[in-house]
């Protein structure tokens, strides 16, 4: 991740062991904070899981319309809900604490210590990434174990798809953290970005039912590409290069923009 390279850009007098201990302490406190103020856990884990269970209990979702290429409506929603969780964590869970730390002066305070403030950014990324991995694992596990979704055709392709999806979405979150001046602004920007992107992911109209114009747009949105990559890993095999490259492009562009624009105070 970009933030990690930022963090290591400065030499530190602490020995390597001490550096790891210091980073571990920051990660620990960030984890405590996301547990004690579980907005990310609710939006990024509980909400998609709840939707998955509801969708799994709707009889009509067990049908396999011709347009869905053999999979049921429920199966089609599994990657959409995984993308839902990833987007919540990346676009709200990641930037909100960072912006509030800047508001509180936490980042400025840290920049007077031997530890650079970018470590908080990296720690927050680690915590959100761990939650994201847990979300995806739980969603795929519950969908196969409890609701009979087929096992993914290409597990390696699925892991890769999830990884690049996370990179792309977290990069968007970092850019939000970079440009939003207040927590309220970050919240508004995050939500205003989340809902249109979720539309293109197919939350309201699955991609299989989208008119070709919408589908073309969807292919180039981060969540559309994420769903496309995860869906092909589950249904057909290793995902095509296009959605993976789209996501990598988002990760690279948004990360470098965030890096350039991020204000530490």
């Amino acid at each position: 991740m970009n933030s990690l390279t930022m963090a290591s850009a400065r030499s530190l007098a602490l020995p390597a062991k001490g550096r790891r201990a210091a980073f571990g302490q920051i990660v620990l406190n960030e984890a405590r904070l996301s547990w004690r103020r579980p907005i990310g856990l609710i939006g990024g884990v509980a909400l998609p899981l709840l939707l998955l269970i509801i969708f799994g209990l709707i009889p009509a979702f067990k049908q396999a319309p011709a347009a869905f290429g053999g999979e049921t409506v429920f199966d089609a929603y599994v990657p959409i809900l995984a993308a839902f969780g990833l987007a919540m964590l990346g676009m709200l869970g990641l930037p909100l604490p960072l912006v509030s730390y800047r508001e509180l002066g936490v980042l400025r305070r840290l920049s007077t210590t031997p530890v650079p403030p970018s470590w908080v950014l990296a720690a927050q990324g680690v915590v959100q990434a761990l939650i994201a991995v847990a979300t995806v694992v739980v969603i795929f596990a519950v969908s196969t174990a409890a609701f009979g979704a087929p096992a993914p055709k290409s597990p390696a392709g699925l892991v890769l798809s999830v990884a690049v999806s996370m990179a792309g979405l977290f990069a968007i979150g970092l850019l939000i953290a970079a440009v939003a001046k207040t927590s309220t602004a970050a919240n508004v920007i995050g939500r205003l970005t989340f809902f249109p992107l979720m539309f293109f992911a197919g939350l309201w109209l699955p991609r299989a039912e989208m008119p070709s114009v919408l589908l073309d747009i969807s292919n180039y949105t981060p969540l559309g590409a994420a769903v496309q990559a995860m869906q092909s890993s589950m249904q057909t095999g290793f995902p095509p290069a296009a959605p993976l490259l789209v996501l990598v492009a988002y990760a690279v562009v948004f990360c470098s923009l965030a890096r350039r624009l991020f204000a530490w105070e």
């Binding site: 400065r10 030499s11 530190l12 007098a13 602490l14 020995p15 001490g18 201990a21 210091a22 571990g24 302490q25 920051i26 620990l28 406190n29 405590r32 904070l33 004690r36 103020r37 604490p97 509030s100 730390y101 509180l104 002066g105 936490v106 400025r108 305070r109 920049s111 007077t112 210590t113 031997p114 530890v115």
Partner: protein, 330 residues
């Protein structure tokens, strides 16, 4: 509080001759502008090791900008800065290890506990202080399990000071550390600072409380309009900038004012209704009373006013120190 206010701890005052030892802080011709705004025009001072040095001045004088440049938080436009010989522009990493900073207006996440914050900051340093000892010294021992949001203003300030000290710094920079504290908490904070210095830490104290500077500081730099307008001990500054002392009394009988005006101790004589105001220096009271006595006049209702740092502040900057009443001990 009079001129004698700072003589309470005379043994603690180190010799303030620059050049004798390596100064802890050395700032020469510092300049910092924000666009067209000149925040710091030309500031120079030097702080000896073990000294408590006050940076004093009205709001917007450039105090905070000066210390922020000193610790490397901001880049100076011109001038040189050395902290124990290190340049914040090139040795910032090393400076972060030996300088503990308490910033104005910096908070912590509401849902972290005091102990968790302290443990985290402790892990940033190579040879940190003991958390138990530090919390005890700062009156936070019983608060280690408390959420940051549940702390009072004074406790938050003390935690902030604890974080500034947890790396066992050689220099502590404290910016307005007693602002927002009630008088009792402020007195505790003063005792604390004196205690820190006794452990050999050099303290750079930014304040706008005159009484705080008088009580604590070995020397102060009075900054106004981005320049040092005076640099002295608080008592020296008060005496130097003022017209000296004023004796106010009610004469038992009319007398010739020239009798007093001719004395070497007296600078001027004024009338204030039936009272007489004599301004001067040295053994003013004795001189006045003896002279009047010789002329057969008794001085009644005698009052002596010594000017203090606050008078110096007003005289040198033309401004009233901010929330001065808040700083008064009740």
């Amino acid at each position: 509080m009079g001129v004698t206010g700072t003589s309470a701890a005379p043994t603690l005052r180190p010799a303030a001759e620059p050049g004798r030892a390596r100064p802890a802080v050395e700032i020469a011709h510092l300049r910092k502008t924000y666009g067209p705004l000149v925040a710091v025009d030309d500031v120079s001072f030097s702080v000896a090791e073990g000294e408590i040095f006050g940076v004093l001045g009205p709001n917007g004088a450039g105090k905070t900008t000066t210390v922020e440049c000193a610790i490397g938080l901001r880049q100076a436009d011109a001038g040189s800065i050395r902290l124990l010989g290190l340049d914040p522009r090139t040795d910032r990493d090393r400076i972060r290890e030996i300088v503990g900073v308490q910033l104005q207006a910096s908070a912590m996440p509401a849902r972290l506990r005091v102990g968790e914050i302290l443990d985290m900051y402790r892990s940033f340093y190579r040879d940190p202080a003991d958390v138990g000892e530090l919390t005890k010294a700062l009156g936070l021992a019983g608060k280690r399990g408390a959420y940051y949001k549940s702390l009072s203003g004074g406790q938050k300030q003390r935690l902030s000071v604890a974080l500034a000290l947890i790396g066992r710094p050689k220099i502590a920079v404290l910016d307005e550390m007693t602002t927002g504290l009630d008088p009792a908490a402020r007195r505790d904070a003063w005792d604390l600072i004196a205690g820190i210095r006794d452990r050999g830490v050099t303290i750079l104290l930014v304040t706008h409380f005159m009484e705080e500077a008088e009580r604590l500081c070995d020397r102060v730099a009075l900054i106004d309009g981005g320049r040092v307008v005076a640099l002295d001990s608080p008592a020296g500054l008060a005496a130097r900038s003022s017209g000296g002392k004023t004796v106010r009394f009610l004469p038992s009988a009319p007398f010739d004012e020239r009798l007093l005006a001719g004395l070497p101790e007296v600078n001027r004589v004024d009338r204030e209704g039936r009272h007489v105001l004599v301004t001067g220096t040295g053994e003013l009271v004795n001189a006045v009373i003896l002279t009047l006595h010789a002329a057969g006049v008794t001085a009644r209702d005698v009052q002596l006013d010594s000017s203090n740092l606050e008078d110096a502040f007003v005289r040198l900057t033309g401004k009233q120190p901010a929330d001065n009443t808040e700083g008064a001990l009740s």
